[in-house]
């Protein structure tokens, strides 16, 4: 908030008044360079006792212009700046007091424990349902990135689950499932089975076949 200004002092006082507790903070700053100085809005984060929710209050931003014509002008500018800052802080303190008054009126005493800054709770988006094409695209990406037996087994597992197969089913079991009635799907399942079980010298060709089968399946996407 006070960038480009040197902080010389910070005085805080709390006083009990008839209308509630008053909190005041006075800071002393000095500017060492001439020109405009932007002061960011002052903010206050507190729990609103009226509804128990975390809230944030803030003032408007402020721009000070520091002149070059001598210490008098500089002193006047600093004084203006200080007043503005004090005004901002007083506004914030007033808001805090108002919140405290409301709390007192409603007689809802709260334990004075330091609460961590509340994390804003955003409404969670429902998890996106992965389509068959997503699964096939992932399997293709896995096989293209890593042309090994392990990758082939991983890709096969993904497509197996996509076809509704449970753990321990064989290719014949999966091909009997209604989900495997599509010819491109069947070709993909057979090609992946080969890549998972063929001998090492045939692995590259088997993975090529599996990639082609996956591509054909993806091309058949509506």
């Amino acid at each position: 908030m006070l960038a480009q200004l040197e902080l010389l002092g910070d005085y805080r006082e709390t006083a009990a008044r008839s209308h509630g507790t008053e909190y005041r903070e006075t800071i002393t700053v000095v500017a060492h360079t001439a020109g405009p100085i932007a002061i960011a809005p002052a903010t206050l984060q507190a729990i609103d006792a009226r509804d128990g929710k975390a809230k944030e209050w803030y003032t408007n931003g402020l721009t000070l212009r520091v002149g070059e014509s001598g210490s008098r002008i500089l002193g006047a500018s600093v004084q203006i700046a200080l007043r503005v800052i004090l005004w901002l802080l007083a506004s914030a303190a007033f808001l805090a007091v108002a919140v405290a008054i409301v709390a007192a009126v409603r007689r809802r005493p709260r334990a004075l424990v330091e609460t961590p800054a509340p994390t804003p709770i955003l409404p969670q988006e429902p998890p996106r349902v992965r389509s068959r094409w997503d699964v096939a695209r992932d399997a293709l990406a896995v096989l293209r990135a890593d042309r090994t037996r392990a990758a082939a087994v991983t890709a096969r597992g993904g497509i197996w689950r996509m076809a509704g197969a449970s753990e321990g089913e064989t290719l014949a079991d999966v091909l009997h499932r209604p989900d495997a009635a599509d010819p491109t799907m069947r070709a993909m399942l057979i090609a992946l089975e080969r890549s998972a079980f063929t001998y090492e010298e045939d692995l590259c060709a088997a993975i090529d076949d599996a990639c082609s089968a996956l591509e054909r399946y993806l091309e058949s996407a509506p």
């Binding site: 321990g168 089913e169 064989t170 290719l171 079980f197 063929t198 001998y199 045939d202």
Partner: protein, 324 residues
């Protein structure tokens, strides 16, 4: 991998003659590819003999049938030495076991001594007659049959002996549609004998190709797990005919031997080759596992007493092991 003629062609030729019984045809081919022997169990009249004869014909191989009876002697199978008076010397007469495809019909009707002679020949692939040892022809496949219906006066094969068979296949009755086709096909005297579609050299090439079929590490572990589960089937349950659930472990005296592990691997390789693949899949293992385990698991009396089908118990064991 280049094979002169595909083994599936032989299967198609056999199917031209034998209606239905795809399981038997596949078993014969698998035994041929895995260089093993088959035990066929089923009622009479289910084309077991025809299947074996057709297999030999399809290969241009020699076929011999031995009917096992209680008075059969080992020399009736392997051969004997007879004294030739003209030469004043012993001459060796080779027995019917010297053929490419041997049908040992009703093997359980012969006493243990004869069974032992046959099984020893199956294992060693050679026969010793007098001082001379004779190698059996290659390929050499024994198809032994057992009739489950008529068990009086039979000599049950011990499990240790049965272990020498690569697989045991239960031969079931044909469906109505298949029986109609049988009626049409065999209505005339000519039964369309199988023409030769492959040579014995082809069979040897197929065997080499089957031996080279790749079995992935995941699949090997699956096979070992399957066989191990036959020995420790605590978590597996099966229902009896009456619908009562039993733990399979309570019904098993002893599980399958490591020979079953080897047999499953051989058969899976053969099945992959029949399908035109040079790598085996979990489906190959699952399809043939029961054939390799059926005669190697020792069930106790409870399986009969409680009315549990042994094949269902084996299926439950196989289903309990997740495929890779």
């Amino acid at each position: 991998m280049t094979v002169a003629r595909q083994p599936a062609e032989l299967g198609a030729a056999l199917a031209q003659t034998i209606v239905g019984q795809e399981g038997v045809i596949e078993a014969l081919l698998l035994a041929l590819l895995a260089n093993g022997h088959v035990l066929l169990e089923g009622p009479p009249g289910l084309a077991k003999t025809l299947a074996c004869r057709s297999l030999a014909a399809g290969l241009e191989g020699e076929f011999k049938r031995i009917q096992f009876t209680p008075d059969l002697l080992p020399s009736d199978i392997v051969g004997t030495r007879i004294f030739d008076q003209r030469d004043s010397a012993f001459a060796t007469v080779l027995g019917p076991i010297f053929a490419n495809v041997v049908l040992a019909d009703e093997i359980n009707r012969a006493p243990a001594k004869v069974q032992s002679a046959l099984l020893e020949a199956m294992q060693e692939r050679q026969v010793t007659i007098g001082p001379q040892t004779y190698a059996l022809p290659d390929p050499f496949v024994v198809m032994a049959t057992m009739n489950p219906l008529d068990s009086e006066g039979t000599y049950a094969l011990p499990i240790a002996q049965m272990d020498r068979f690569l697989m045991k296949v239960n031969v079931g009755y044909p469906s109505r549609a298949e029986e109609l086709r049988i009626l049409d096909r065999f209505a005339v005297a000519d039964t369309h004998p199988v023409r030769a579609v492959a040579s014995l050299d082809d069979v040897r090439a197929w065997r080499a190709a089957a031996h080279a079929v790749h079995i992935d590490e995941k699949l090997k572990r699956y096979i070992v797990e399957l066989v191990a589960t036959t020995r420790q089937a605590e978590g597996v349950s099966v229902q009896s005919v009456a619908g009562t659930t039993f733990r399979v472990a309570e019904l098993v005296d002893y599980g399958a031997s490591p020979r079953a592990t080897l047999a499953i691997a051989f058969l899976a390789r053969g099945r992959a080759l029949l399908a035109g693949r040079d790598f085996a899949l979990p489906d190959d293992v699952r399809a043939i596992a029961a054939h390799a385990l059926r005669h190697r698991i020792g069930f106790n009396y409870r399986i009969v007493a409680e009315g549990v089908d042994a094949d269902r118990a084996i299926e439950a064991i196989i289903a309990s092991v997740p495929a890779p």
